[in-house]
Amino acid sequence: AVMASPMNSDSGWFLALALGVSFIKCLLINAYHSTDFEVHRNWLAVTHSMPVSKWYYEATSEWTLDYPPFFAWFEYGLSHVAAYFDKEMLVVRNLNYASPATVLFQRLSVIVTDVVFIYAIKECCKCLREDKGKELLWKPSFILATLLLWNFGLIIVDHIHFQYNGFLFGVLLLSVARHFQSRHLEGALLFSVLLNLKHIYLYIAPAYGVFLLRCFCFTQSKTDGSVHWKSFSPFRFVVLGSIVLTTFALSFGPFIALGQIPQVLSRLFPFKRGLCHAYWAPNVWALYNIVDKVLSMLGVKLGMLDINKLPKATMTGGLVQEFQHTVLPSVSPLVTLICTLLSILPALFHMWYRPSGGRGFLRCIVICALGSFMFGWHVHEKAILMAILPLSWLAVEHREDARTFLILSTTGHFSLFPLLFTAQELPIKILLMLLFTIFSFTSLKKLFRGRLVSSVEATYLLGLIPLAVICELVYPLTPWHHTLPFIPLLLTSIYCALGVTYSFIRLYISLLTVPSTTSKGKCQ
């Protein structure tokens, strides 16, 4: 292989990939950043300038602290470094302060904390079954490293839109890798820390709970794979429990002592927001909303509904958070919770009765993440990354997962396009999307030899191109651009929701039909 000359060590390519993507990230320092930039600057200021007792009460800025305490401590740590760049950013009253030094510091902090992500990927690659004979470019570890390091969604959400998902996903992947390596306590600790960094990972907590209970607390399984009840190890259970409880105690302890728990919880779980985000994430509720709208329009046309009795916003309103359903029943947070649980229960049961070690656990994580995305309350479109990233790992090992990954990642990434709506970023998002898509398709195709997408699926995916042209180029030139500005968002959301739903179904089918390949009913 020419790419890896005999002189280069094995890790040479990994370093090259990591450095390469880091350089691209550095070049994006001066790109557009969203309000999330101000959010984090505000948190730097709040944690630096205010005492701990005020952190969850501070409301000078509209972007109040709504992540768990460990993240607040993380921002506190960052703020000390920030003081060397520009002290003004740490003043709470400096709303929307974005001096060049501030931008540089914040961007660099994301790039530097991505080191955790890079380390985690290295650990994940170690857990793969290696194929020594293959050429470098088509080795599973190379493909996985590239799919994760150069993930399009992560780059544009973290390094343009601005968030800290890289290092959080690093902690998640590291935790999963530790479970693969049977270092379950470390994995559990990492996940508890993760939950206290960003509580959105509650989406996959059920998978962790069931897995740890089944495979760590019960030390043996019967030959057919079902649990050996007598092998319950109270010692392990207690150790596990104490690790989790200690982590939560460290995190929430100060606020329990201050009696601020209701306030903290209200900040963390603001259920007053609507069913859908301002931009409808491509999930079931987006489809539900559109069906409701179509039915109500049909109903008015057919004379079955009185247009005067309908809520004002239904006919002309765009993507609003508080969407009042007219024909179909309204959806409350409780309903979404029940739907989510129903959607992930079969996967959890399957893992309980037929555990297949780390890979089964990973599959369950993906399904939990995707199920919560599909049916959750006020889901952000960025949450699709929680399903795409772990699925990359499964994709380099199983053909069926590779097929699902291609569909999910392409539609999921496309649904992130509306996040970057400025003209200047349009070439970047198209170029990076093409880069990632071409790589994922060609590398997985080479790995698994043969067609990975059927004609129907290919047509659907190719349909994204005209959709992109319409939304980005054609629509802004039409007169409706000012009166009905939400149409491109709506179209993107609906089109991608189809792909995401299809992937969810595929994941379940492959879970329930394909027998666990390597270890039947074993936990390792």
Binding site: M7, F23, I24, L28, N30, I428, L434, L435, I438, T442
Partner: protein, 495 residues
Amino acid sequence: MDNWSLVSMCVLLGLTTRWAVSFNSYSGASKPPMFGDYEAQRHWQEVAYNLPVHEWYLNTTDNNLSYWGLDYPPLTAYHSLLCAYVAKLINPAWVELHTSRGYESSSHKLFMRTTVLIADILLYIPAVFLYCFYLSNGSSKKKVATALCILLYPGLILIDYGHFQYNNVSLGLALWGVVGLGSGWDLLGSLAFTLALNYKQMELYHSLPFFCYLLGKCIKQGLVGRGLFLLLKISLSVLATFALCWLPFLSEPQQVLQVLHRLFPVARGLFEDKVANTWCSLNVLIKIKTLLSRDAQLLLSLALTFLFVLPSSIKLLTKPTMWQFKLALVNSSLAFFLFSFQVHEKSILLPALPHRLSAVLCLACSMLPLLLKDGLLLPYAVTSLAFLFLCVYLLSALHRSSQELHLGSCYNLTRGCLSARNFSLLVKCAFGISMAAMAVLSTASAALEPPARLPDLFPVLVSIFSCMHFLASLLYFNFVQLTEPPSRRGQKKTN
């Protein structure tokens, strides 16, 4: 199949890097009254669109030549005219006569950057891939790797997408010329190069090798018969192309002279600003500018330029192979850059030699003072470092055997005194030292304040260092080219 995906991924990476660099500032941003090269290009669009052709190069009431008068050949003007038509469609205020002076807006910046990108996509990038695939040796993966390295040359990206220029057009056309010549299509190749010359007169730096190669080839084919026929064909097509480009100006000899006067401003002296050539470096010790009269300066620079270009050209004339041609291109452009009249920093964008990694990086470093003025420190640092790591990794530049580094001849010379291991160690040390020096100079220029007595300390240091580096490269490449034995079976070397 694999090749296509690798090629497209390289193109996408190259385009992403370019566009990301374009987010940064440009030359003369928010700096009235003169602004910078960005405003110059916008002004040329304004002039080309609003004024009749015969007024473009003249000093008239509508066209004040002291405010960014056109000083590139007609093809640049036609290109500006084309861009102006598009600009008029989008926003007429961008090219309104007089009132659009100093126009700056984010949408205009987007428009201008897009024009550079389109020129890249249409001209430069295809030329690079054709060059790598048809004119270099090695496996297809190696060719793609070479192409990626060329695409990520920091100097070109920073100047075109940062400072703002259209070097990719002239370099792209010149590269098409090289590709044409290399594939045996001499006519098309010379046509492409003529167009490049008519776009930017700095392509004269590359003109001697083209001339000598084609002439040598004609001579080899016999000066009576096929050779003569080829010579006539090429000369006629070159003249025809020139005539076509200069058509509107050929009506009066006065026009032609005026254009030439704009293209070659001999009145401006040996050099301006701090540039990495010998005159500027020499000026530190001996004040040449004041010592010699303007005519003497002109003669001196012409003489030295030709002196340094002559050996390489003659060798190429006697032995017109592609390998000699490529070496001659480097030697010629280095000689012209180092000794010619009124050289600007951007004149040294060489597209063709990824092996001389240190030279390419030195190029970028030599432009550092200019880039710092434009606020392009961050892209400079990132692209240079990225290029360094990429080349070191992909081409394993340092691990190559001395043979592959075309140090064969050098090695033979020193074989008496040094062993093979010591020799490659020496090469690595030299490389390391020059990298370290560049890093120190870059950091110092960016971070430190120069002492009050020597306000231009850092630009001068950078210029002198780069000049020495280029001189060393000139000597080295001349040595390589001239010591190649007269008969060689086929081309054994890449690039």
